[in-house]
């Protein structure tokens, strides 16, 4: 009895507030747009009996998904989200790896402090961290002031409201997600392996390529997925730092829903985004599973 209660409470909560909402999204994605409240057709009417349920199902169609393929705004947004997420993941890796490596090589007594410095931004509001770049990247912003002062440029660079600003924003906000898994892989690295490689005639750089990088592979993979997956559906960064030319699917979905009030298309956009995300999520799970088995 007690066990049943323990299972049932969180189970029913998640069914009601996680799974059923998805079924609703799927259903509305298959419905037609209507000028009504709620703005979609058909609505399920159990009072009408079996015939009403049959009518309901026969009225569902793939129209909205066909619409997504016809209007090039949508597939361009999916492709551009994939591209922005992929490029920023690589950039985050390039910035994050040396940082994680430095943390792993640092003296033991520094490590708790370095760890805390790395985790602290994670507890700080995401919105504020993104916002802090608006004052830096704008035309009269600090970066341009600095570059003009050094004489490197003679005219302010236009960075804010472009894709470059979106890349900077993603690298900045997701950096700890990349650094921490790589750091934990590097921390376990057995130093004697590097010694052996050097004894056998490797230069330090070759030893790094042949020993350190392969042994931190799982951290690199985990970190990359932890950046790529959330970046793909990102909304705040493209809407604050990106411009009108920045196409990201999270932003499109938001506008479809709040500005155009086209619920069926917004739901179809969500369903397709989810289908795209399933692949990286499965790959990520597999990587984690492999790690767990290796550690046992």
């Amino acid at each position: 009895m007690r066990r049943l209660f323990l299972i049932a409470v969180p189970y029913l909560w998640l069914l009601a507030l996680f799974l059923i909402p998805f079924v609703i999204v799927l259903k509305i994605a298959l419905s037609d747009t209507a000028l009504a409240i709620p703005p979609y057709m058909p609505t399920l009417d159990f009072a009408g009996g079996w015939q009403a349920i049959k009518d309901f199902f026969s009225a569902l169609d793939m129209e909205n998904f066909v619409f997504l393929t016809e209007d090039d705004l949508y597939w361009k947004s999916y492709l551009s989200s994939l591209q922005i997420a992929a490029v920023s993941t690589v950039l985050t890796l390039l910035v994050g790896y040396p940082l994680a490596y430095g943390m792993a090589m640092a003296p033991d007594e520094w490590r708790p402090t370095l760890m805390m410095l790395m985790i602290l931004p994670f507890w700080t509001s995401f919105l504020i961290r993104v916002y802090s770049w608006m004052g830096i990247l704008s035309n009269e912003g600090f970066l341009n002031q600095f570059l003009l002062w050094t004489g490197l440029i003679s005219e302010p660079l236009i960075i804010l409201n472009t894709n470059s600003a979106v890349y900077i924003g993603i690298v900045y906000t997701y950096l700890p997600f990349m650094v921490l898994p790589i750091y934990s892989a590097l921390e376990k690295l057995d130093g004697s392996l590097l010694e052996a490689a050097e004894d056998l005639g490797c230069s330090r750089l070759t030893a790094f390529w042949l020993v350190t990088i392969p042994l931190s592979k799982s951290g690199i993979i985990a970190g990359s997925f932890l950046v790529f997956i959330p970046a793909l559906g990102e909304f705040v960064i493209p809407s604050l730092l990106g411009g009108s030319g920045t196409l990201m699917i999270g932003k499109v979905l938001w506008e479809e829903f709040f500005s155009n009030r086209d619920w069926p298309v917004a739901s179809a956009v969500a369903v397709v985004l989810l289908l795209i995300l399933i692949i990286p999520i499965i790959l990520f799970q597999r990587n984690e599973q492999k790690e767990r088995e290796k550690n046992q």
Binding site: P21, P38, M118, S125
Partner: protein, 271 residues
Amino acid sequence: MRRFTWFNATALTFGFVFLYLPMIILVIYSFNASKLVTVWAGFSTKWYAELFQNDAFLDAAWVTLQVGVASSTLATILGTMAAYVLVRAGRFHGRTLFSGMIYAPLVMPEVITGLSLLLLFIGIGLDRGIFTIILAHTTFSMCYVSVVVSSRLVSFDQSLEEAALDLGCSPFESFRLVTLPIIAPAVISGWLLAFTLSLDDLVIASFTSGPSATTLPIKIFSAVRLGVSPEINALSTLMIGIVAIGVISASIVSKRAAVKQRQDEQAADRS
């Protein structure tokens, strides 16, 4: 063989400057007298004064706090139950679905979670307001709590619970007297995590809130869409300050607790 080289030192310096400089600039310029946010015109605290006279911000802060406390408390209870089910309940029908529903929200884009909950609330005719935001926040943060708590439960020595049961405790007493004190640090950090997630959330709150309830992130977002403002800098500084004080004092407390535990264990070994 660990060598801390110049390369490592440079990487650390640049990395942490990159992480902290934007926030430091934000904090400094919140004390700027000028309305122009990138031109320094002397020290002033007037933006803080204006902030505390702005009722819209104060109302939003109050809503955010209510949502945060209520949702993280609910999420901690539900998440701890879910962790217990995942680690201890053994096999039952629909277990795979259950663990799927625990892990899926962690990787779900916020726009999808928000959209789906909004459609549910409209479908069942629930008026949107503080209550619906609490429901939404509880749902996604309970999953984070259950991940944190279950990682602690896995490493927990079950024979302690069995001993308590053998000594005549009821299952509830054994949970309260044995299990809870041991998993307490994980439960507390789960609560803190849920609380910060709730304070931070813009997207899901925007979908699930109604005109009657505006949270602080929604308010900040609609203000900064128009550009940088010194008032928002002041508000951000306050939020950064609160988080920094909270995290640093929490880490000092847990460090002391760890030292004390080690001393206790050594004392127990000697006796």
